[in-house]
Amino acid sequence: MASNEQVPNDIDFEELVETYYTPLYRFAYSLAGNESDASDLTQQAFYIWATKGSSLRDTSKVKSWLFTSLYREFLRIRRRSSHTATYEPDLLESEHPAVTPDIVRSMDASSAVERLQDVDEIYRIPLTLFYLQDLSYKEIAGTLELPIGTVMSRLSRGKAQLKSIVLRLNGGK
């Protein structure tokens, strides 16, 4: 498990919300980049749970189920707004630029999200899940419906892009 929270045994809804609304909101905020859409996405994930969650037999998969629902909802909204990037950008930045930890230390949460927003979406989403540390690699692969090898290579490329962005925007400070 990527994080230590206890999965509720009999899935009490209030307990479920208490356990997961913060990690889900963080994921939503990193995807959407603003509080309003992030709140909507989080609410929607629990709403989907309330209407369809009873079909889930394996309670150990509740967390992945909620993350997957939120991610699908995000994709659905993105498709409607026709901003979806379906292509995989060329591997231009596989070489990781050297970024000292001090540069990142000077950033706050909102600038970290802003830097992530500049990463190509195809890399940004696995990278966000990687940094949030709520899901294991296997669960990230399940949520994004990708083979684990693809997740790992997107993480590597995404990190290279992120470092370039951090260096460009924070390097001179």
Binding site: S3, Q44, A50, H96, V99, Q133, I140, L155
Partner: protein, 256 residues
């Protein structure tokens, strides 16, 4: 495994995300331990990742969010109870066993049709529930998404959010100075909010009529008081409006 391969494998390494033992990672870590240059790179990489994770994990949800989720769930639960109750009542309408077979079939068909209709009706939240949700939203109100004094710009913003935009509202309201707007999802449908300023701040919530279970259209506004707040509700042009203000009902009456 050489140094380059070890570096590639460990670029996105975080022990907390591993589900079990990984042979490749173990080999890569052994190479790192035996190579000071690679070790320095790896330590810096882990530090970068840890700090970046800390930054993202510092994001906190808005204070109202948890309660909003629970309210939405409770509203759904109420609907579900109403659904069960309607269905159990329908069972009592079944004809007795002594009724001739043909009559039973006709009756059962009627029940089935009624059941389908009833389910369609109760699948939507009621206007009372919308009023409760918007009242709660107003209690927890902590800012607008879009702040602008020009009502046309506010309408455009709501439209861009796929939120209901008031197609028609009393002139006395649209003449007020707008403060801004926001939208949110409730029970699977988007609700728009425009705030106006006069002697007090007025909240005008707009929802699609189709998303709400309304038995009778309410073209004349109905005003009610809830604590210190006055609330007017009405329907117009396939939309549902809820206007509220912290004050007495006569503060609303002049706009309606």
């Amino acid at each position: 495994m050489d140094k380059i391969e070890a570096k590639r494998i460990l670029t996105s390494y975080n022990p907390r995300l591993l589900s079990g033992d990984d042979e490749q990672i173990r080999s890569a870590l052994e190479i790192v331990e035996s190579d000071p240059e690679l070790k320095a790179w790896f330590d810096e990489e882990r530090e970068f990742d840890e700090i970046f994770s800390d930054r993202l994990r510092a994001i906190q949800p808005p204070v109202f969010l948890k309660q909003a989720i629970l309210d939405q769930y409770n509203a759904s639960a109420e609907l579900s109870e109403a659904d069960k109750s309607k269905r159990s009542k329908l069972i009592f309408w079944k004809p007795a066993v002594i009724v001739p077979l043909a009559a039973s079939i006709v009756a059962l068909m009627a029940v089935a049709v009624h059941l389908v209709q009833s389910r369609n009706e109760v699948a939507k939240p009621s206007l009372d529930q919308l009023v409760r949700a918007t009242t709660h939203h107003a209690d927890q109100f902590d800012g607008l998404e879009f702040v602008n004094g020009d009502l046309d710009s506010v309408r455009k913003f709501l439209a861009a959010q796929n939120a209901p935009v008031p197609t028609k509202m009393p002139r006395s309201i649209s003449d007020l100075e707008s403060i801004g707007c926001l939208s949110f999802v409730w029970q699977g449908s988007r609700v728009g909010l425009i705030c106006f300023r006069d002697d007090e701040v007025y909240h005008l919530y707009v929802a699609d009529r189709d998303a709400i279970q309304i038995l009778h259209d309410q073209q004349s506004p109905k005003v009610q008081q809830s604590g210190n707040r006055s609330i007017a509700t009405w329907t117009e042009n396939a939309q549902v409006f809820i206007l509220m203000v912290d004050g007495k009902p006569d503060q609303l009456a002049r706009f309606l």
